[in-house]
């Protein structure tokens, strides 16, 4: 492998060019390299080396200049958007992009918070690792209620691919047999704490429509031999994952897919290489490569490949496609349908509740569990809620109030100090994770005049949550409060809030799959209807958002699309 772009001869024709090195690009690289294809991975950001470049890892709070906070002038000048993300702090800030270099605009009266990690590894370094399968409840939702277009695939098409990626990644969780949340290939789940165990028992006694399960996540609780061979070790329960993990205990490009791809000698990586657009050949009706601008020198160059995989994140890919104009595609490559950039969704996490759990002062836990509990969706499954379509899950946990929550408690002095030391009371909190309806109006396009410093047109957003999401969040707040009451909790505080789209960082849908080339960009194999050798396997392909965290599904779709593309290549069709 080389990361020195000067060494990469531009004239070489790769079997495949992958744009992006995050969760989906990493998977594409691993799959193609292992299948023997000469692969070029093009990444706009800087190289990040596993372990060596985790500069925030292991730094103690008292060693940090501002004890974890980021200096105000840095926030104002470079991170005014990124700082809205819960994971942004002094130990992680270098994995979030510099907002000054990555401008975008929004229509008047609308908001979108675009959280990005533009570096080798993309957001795989930053993600929260929650990993859930989707089910046919999700793949059939569009055709049942008429929002969005019919998904060209069903659960059975993805099932073997879920199995496949999960085995490599290592998903910790418990077998539950919940129809709307199919079980994964699990390694050992994290433990409940003793208070959570009681809550689970009570909750499942009171409600026969819901279960409280351990959050499924891409962490090696008990690494299998093939994980150890990847160079990965067990989770140490530090819960400081976003700083980078030298144990390789959580799945990232660096810990998992990149080393697998590198092992093959088929991978070339070009970092600091911004894909400006995809090159389209009118004669062959094929993509022949990508135009690149060097992030540092502004030099331009082209790379050529037989297949192009766009894995630049939902919005990154959409920007590239919209900017790839030609005679055939004046509005963006493979956009004869005109839906490219439309049907943008995120999830909606704008409701939740907290409460006190009386008692259990003698009980505690040890270690910092990097996942929480999960109550899978229980609405609109057999019943039909009159107020909203689709549904939400809850994430939550029971914990003892740490010192930083004592600023909300009255008092000070010796008793106050001793109370903190004795461990605060037990609390329970949940937040809703709701599905967002795919709607044409929620869209991005290229700004007519504004460009970034590399001369690439900026994305312009026009989107927001609709009444359906708002009603769903009200329902979630209410149902959380009811649940807490039934469980005997005290000081119940349920809330809804008004966070803008983007902050859940599950953006999807802007180059959707569909059966009909006139109303969708991709077919069921993530292949552009209009350009046979151009594929999109990041979240842009999703025809709806479901309610589960999406990245595991992106992984399965990517591996499946790679398999399809190689077969097509071998059959001489690409």
């Amino acid at each position: 492998m080389t990361t020195n772009i000067d060494n990469i001869p531009s004239s070489e024709i790769y079997d495949v060019i992958i744009v992006g090195s995050g969760i989906t690009g990493g998977w594409a690289a691993k799959e193609f390299c292992e299948k023997g294809l000469k692969t070029l991975m093009v990444e706009r950001g800087r190289p990040v080396e596993h372990r060596k470049d985790y500069i925030g890892e292991g730094v103690k709070t008292w060693q940090q200049p501002y004890r974890g906070k980021v200096a105000q002038n840095l926030v104002e000048t470079q991170h005014h958007v990124q700082q809205q993300c819960y994971a942004f702090n002094d130990s992680t800030k270098h994995f979030f992009n510099n907002d000054q270099d990555y401008p975008y605009s929004t229509s008047e009266g609308t908001k979108f918070s675009w959280i990005r990690g533009n570096q080798l590894g993309g957001k795989s370094l930053l993600w929260h690792r929650q990993s859930y399968r989707w089910s046919d409840l999700d793949f059939e939702a569009n055709s049942k209620d008429g929002f969005g277009t019919e998904w060209p695939i069903r659960y059975k098409d993805l099932e073997p691919w879920y199995d496949y990626v999960e085995t490599h990644v290592g998903i910790s969780g418990s077998k539950e047999g919940i129809p709307q949340l199919p079980d994964s290939q699990f390694i050992e789940a994290f433990e409940f704490n003793s208070v959570e165990k009681r809550i689970k028992e009570n909750l499942e006694k009171i409600y026969d429509d819901r279960k409280l399960i351990m959050g499924r996540c891409a962490h090696l609780t008990k690494p299998a031999e093939h994980h150890v061979k990847q160079g990965r070790g067990p989770c140490m329960a530090r819960n400081e994952c976003q700083k980078g993990c030298s144990f390789g205990a959580y799945f990232s490009t660096q810990s998992s897919t990149l080393p697998a791809a590198q092992k093959t000698d088929n991978l070339t990586v070009a970092t600091n290489s911004i894909v400006h657009s995809v090159i389209y050949d009118e004669k062959s009706k094929r993509a022949t490569g990508v135009r690149v601008i060097d992030c540092e020198t502004m030099a331009t160059r082209e790379y050529y490949g037989k297949i192009v995989f766009l894995c630049a994140s939902t919005l990154g890919t959409t920007q590239i496609m919209l900017n790839s104009v030609s005679k055939t595609f004046p509005n963006g490559i493979a956009n004869s349908s005109g839906v490219l950039g439309h049907y943008l969704t995120d999830h909606c996490y704008n409701a939740g509740a907290t409460a006190d759990i009386p008692g259990f002062e003698d009980e505690y836990y040890s270690g910092r569990r990097p996942t929480s509990l999960y109550i899978p969706r229980f609405q609109n499954i057999l019943d039909k809620n009159p107020k909203f379509l689709r549904g939400y899950a809850f994430s939550g946990e029971a914990y003892r109030e740490p010192w930083w929550e004592f600023n909300n408690k009255p008092g000070f002095g010796v008793d106050f100090k001793n109370n903190i030391k004795q461990g605060g009371g037990w609390k329970f909190r949940v937040h809703a994770s709701g599905e967002m309806l795919p709607r044409y109006e929620n869209s991005v396009k290229l700004h007519a005049t504004k460009k970034d410093k590399w001369g690439i047109p900026q994305l312009h957003f026009n989107c927001g949550y609709s009444e359906n999401e708002k009603s769903m969040m009200e329902h979630a707040a209410q149902s959380a409060a009811e649940m807490f009451k039934a469980l005997g909790f005290k000081n119940i505080h349920a809330y809804t809030k008004d966070d803008p789209m983007g902050l859940v960082i599950h953006e999807m849908g802007t180059a959707r799959m569909g059966l009909d080339p006139e109303t969708s960009v991709l077919n069921g194999n993530n292949q552009c209807h209009d350009v046979a050798n151009l594929f999109v396997t990041d979240g842009a392909c999703m025809a709806s958002s479901a309610w589960q965290n999406p990245s595991l599904t992106y992984m399965a779709l990517t591996a499946r699309a790679c398999d399809f593309a190689v077969k097509e290549l071998k059959a001489g069709r690409l």
Partner: protein, 206 residues
């Protein structure tokens, strides 16, 4: 009794704990010395408590304001078998934090809150905050926290900010995190049913 640092890293090692600890140590070595070289550079810049903050002005606060602030943080987190907030220079930390992590408006509000507390004290007692007895000091802070007379909502907001910063400064310091509370840099795994008595003190990281 004050525990030494290494003591507090090793609270109540049960047999299982000990074997887990050596496992963790082995893994840490195997996975290549968990502290990347460059993080040491970061560490060097960490705010370090200064012994003599009171003899000079801070970044934002005058020597006088710092003296008042030291007394306030000591009232919030006094000495027990571990040092008080003032003894760990939490007032100096707050000055530094205000300067670097707050906008002008919040800085001004904090300084105004500090000055106002001093003014109220003089109006009520005819003496500076540092001159009145502890009972009077505490009474004034109780009023500030509640926003009741002779204080108001502004003082309440100021006290909340002061308390938040005091807790941050104290419990993220090495003494606060590892001696006053329990701390494990690398827990080695999560266990969900540990008696509180076995840990003995709240975790500084949850």
């Amino acid at each position: 009794m004050m525990k030494t640092k290494s003591d507090s890293q090793q609270q109540v090692p049960s047999q299982a704990d000990l074997s887990r600890r050596s496992l963790v140590k082995g893994l840490a070595l195997m996975f290549g010395g968990l502290l990347p070289a460059s993080s040491l550079a970061l560490a060097a810049q960490g705010y370090q408590g200064q012994a003599d903050t009171l003899n000079r002005a801070g970044h934002l606060l005058s020597a006088k304001q710092l003296t008042l602030l030291k007394r306030l943080v000591d009232l919030i987190i006094p000495a027990t078998d571990t040092p008080s907030a003032g003894a760990l220079d939490v007032h100096g930390f707050i000055d530094n934090q205000l300067k670097h992590c707050f906008d002008k408006n919040s800085q001004n509000l904090f300084i105004a809150g500090l000055d106002k507390l001093e003014r109220i004290c003089r109006q009520m007692n005819g003496q500076a905050f540092s001159e009145v007895n502890t009972d009077a000091q505490v009474a004034l802070l109780v009023a500030a926290e509640a926003g009741g007379k002779p204080c108001n909502v502004d003082d309440k907001a100021f006290f909340y900010q002061l308390k938040t910063l005091t807790l941050l400064g104290y419990y993220t310091s090495e003494v606060g995190a590892t001696e006053e509370l329990s701390y494990l840099a690398i827990p080695g795994g999560y266990r969900g049913d540990v008696p509180f008595a076995q840990v003995g003190k709240a975790w500084s990281l949850n």
